[in-house]
């Protein structure tokens, strides 16, 4: 044999090179080992000093009203330059954020994270515990629902930016045309759905193709507690009373085809809200802004009402959506980033955002006369904030999301969603969802019980 480099040897060395490359890549990715050590201590003076020193901040958020807040902040602090990036809405942004964190580069200094997704980031220590930044003094600043949503264990992992106490938005034109009363209980809601759909087969009480956030919110309102989280001990069970109430009521709507098979946020959805095909929408108080921009032609036709009740005469509500601003652990500008958080969510930014149509999370703003008395042109001059503020007060305690809710929500349609398109009962669908969550949780190292 001739002594030349054999192809095999070459292939081997190329592989070794590649492996070495990937090793370094891996080493770079393992940088998020912040551990459960004591939270950083950053005093108000440090924050002030950082503000004076100035610097560049990268903020990842999709909330439109933040643009004005950033502008004002920069005007007030000329040394600070903020780059506001829309890295996607909701899950898209979390994916980008998680990838950036895993890669160890390109991580923003501030990131918007919805309440349901925050436990996942908190558990992985991907976002900073703000207890040492002075956030622990803010417990009376925010309304209780959002405030409890940013806490996990002993830590405070973000400052609440907005909240989504639920209300029922309805198209007055449709209800008047068919002489139907606006439902105050979910049983009446099912009745109204039948009457409307019978009167005009093109009219549906609502659209629903299976939405995890909506389903969990209604279970929350019904007093259900399908998720119990205690550190890494997790319990998932959808057979409690609240979950059953939801499943049974919704089953009637599904069986009788009373829900429009239109996915929220699709073109068809906006059209449906405009044409009267979709008569009601039960969702968070952040919706008015979307009505104004998404369905401008229907201004004056829609109104807000309290969320229908599970028990006659009840007042219970629930949160749907809402998000916080957080500081990723990888950010090296914690103090400056906190200064922005404080400005946007506690300071002057709050009023700026209310003026822009956002729904606040601070108690003071929720109780202010100006806020409560503001009339919504879109809702025919209705003082809708009174309803929303009332709803915010009546959110049942003790709800928690899973520390892997982002994943769980992503498989809702694989499991519970089947009840919307087949004969599978919703109850079984929820059980399948439970099983999928349990399986994933167990694989991820949680101690999961049912």
């Amino acid at each position: 044999m001739k002594s030349r480099i054999s192809p095999a040897v070459l292939r081997g060395s190329a592989l070794a090179l590649a492996a070495a490359l990937s090793l370094t890549a891996c080493g770079g990715g393992g940088g998020n080992d912040a551990g459960g050590a004591a939270p950083e201590e950053v005093s108000a003076d440090d924050v002030q000093a950082a503000l004076e020193a100035g610097g560049d901040l990268t903020v990842w958020a999709w909330e439109p009203t933040l643009e004005k807040v950033v502008e004002d902040f920069e005007a007030e602090h000329p040394n600070v330059d903020i780059d506001l990036v829309n890295a996607g809405t909701g899950n898209d942004q979390y994916t980008a954020l998680q990838n950036a964190i895993a890669a160890g580069s390109g991580v923003p200094d501030v990131a918007q994270i919805e309440y349901y997704a925050l436990p996942q980031f908190a558990l992985a220590e991907s976002v900073k515990d703000l207890t040492g930044y002075g956030a622990s003094d803010l417990s009376d600043t925010f309304s209780p629902g959002p405030w409890s949503s940013v806490q996990a264990g002993d830590g405070i992992y973000g400052l609440p930016m907005d909240s989504g106490p639920m209300a029922l938005f309805y198209n007055t034109e449709v209800f008047e045309k068919y002489g139907v009363e606006v439902p105050t209980t979910w049983d009446e809601y099912v009745e109204a759905a039948r009457t409307l759909h019978e009167a005009d087969p093109n009219v549906y009480i609502a659209n629903d193709t299976g939405d995890a956030g909506f389903a969990t919110s209604l279970i929350w309102q019904a007093g259900g507690k399908p998720y119990t989280v205690n550190g890494t001990d997790v319990k998932v069970n959808f057979s409690d009373e609240g979950s059953t109430k939801f499943a049974e009521t919704w089953q009637q709507l599904l069986d009788e085809d009373l829900l429009a098979p239109i996915s929220s946020w699709s073109d068809e959805w906006y059209q449906g809200l405009g044409t009267g095909t979709i008569a009601t929408l039960a969702t968070g108080a952040w919706m008015p802004g979307n009505f104004t921009s998404g369905v401008p032609a229907s201004a004056g036709k829609w109104r807000a009402a309290p969320l229908p009740q599970w028990e006659e005469g009840g007042t219970a509500s629930a949160e749907n959506g809402g998000s916080s601003l957080t500081i990723p652990t990888a950010s090296e500008q914690g103090a400056l980033a906190y200064a922005f958080l404080d400005y946007a969510n506690v300071g002057d930014g709050v009023q700026t955002r209310i003026d822009g149509g956002a729904f606040p999370a601070t108690s003071a703003a929720l109780k202010s006369e100006e806020f409560l008395n503001s009339e919504f042109e879109y809702f025919g001059g209705q003082k809708a904030n009174e309803i929303f503020a009332e709803s915010a007060q009546n959110v049942p305690d003790g709800w928690s999301y899973l520390p892997f809710q982002v994943y769980a929500n992503s498989v809702f349609n694989d499991t519970a969603g089947q009840a919307y398109v087949s004969d599978t009962p919703l109850k079984d669908g929820l059980k399948a969802w439970q099983d999928a969550s349990v399986k994933y949780g167990t694989e991820q190292g949680f101690t999961v019980s049912e």
Partner: protein
Amino acid sequence: MTTASPPPATLGTQPRPAKRAQKRTQKSSWSGWLFIGPFMAVFAVVFLAPIAYSIWLSFFRNQLVGGNGFVGLENYSQVLQDSQFWSSLIRVVLFLAVQVPVMLLIALLVALALDSGRLYGKSFFRISIFLPYAVPAVVASLMWGFMYGTRFGLVGNINSALGISLPNPLSPELILASIGNIVTWEFIGYNMLIFYSALSVIPKSLYEAAEIDGASQFRLVTAIKLPAIRGAMVVAGIFSVIGSFQLFNEPAILQSLAPNSISTYFTPNLYAYSLSFSGQQYNYSATVAIIMGVITMVIAYAVQLRGMRKES
């Protein structure tokens, strides 16, 4: 790699020149590497490294609780027992078995029609049939998704105009066929072009000879054209097999319109995507990708072997 044989020994002791020659070959082989070095470096970084990295990833498991750990081949055994993975694979195999023959047959018919020279406005037809291929798959899916809408889409319009009730193309039963329709629409032009270019290099003299022999048009097709483009058909077949196994864009786009019909494990690629982007299961996702890569390679190779054997 063929090696240069040592120069024939002419005089004197045989071993020495042979040895020298061997040395020279060795030297020249090294300078050869110098030339392809830049290529090999790029090749290693952009082709081999990602594959090696995926293989590396597939030996680990990173958990939300407990962190990263070496698990050997556990991910592989888990994927092979994963019913979601198998259901996604079976779905694309079904897709492959139905959609690919339909698409290739139509593309072939169109190419033959264009090649027959009897079509009026040939270049117009050629460009219009090819046009869908120029539309990005994402845009095509959005467009079709809108047409499939039963309330405000084209299907909805037909329903209300004619007072009928067409089956919902986005229902779980029909979604695979609807996706097949989109893919067929997109790729007929592409395959037609492959066939057509193969057809147009057939020497005219063959046709003339056949004509003298009194062969019919049909006979011309079966005896000359089809055998002559077998190679092109194999190539188109392999591309289509790979394309089917990699089905992703169309279901991913339609998912937002039909979330209950298109599961997160609808196709193997979509499954790998959901695993890493919704579930942060990068390692498991890499394993799915590697297994799918191997399966695709084996099947594409089988198609090639079979096609080539017939040719010879």
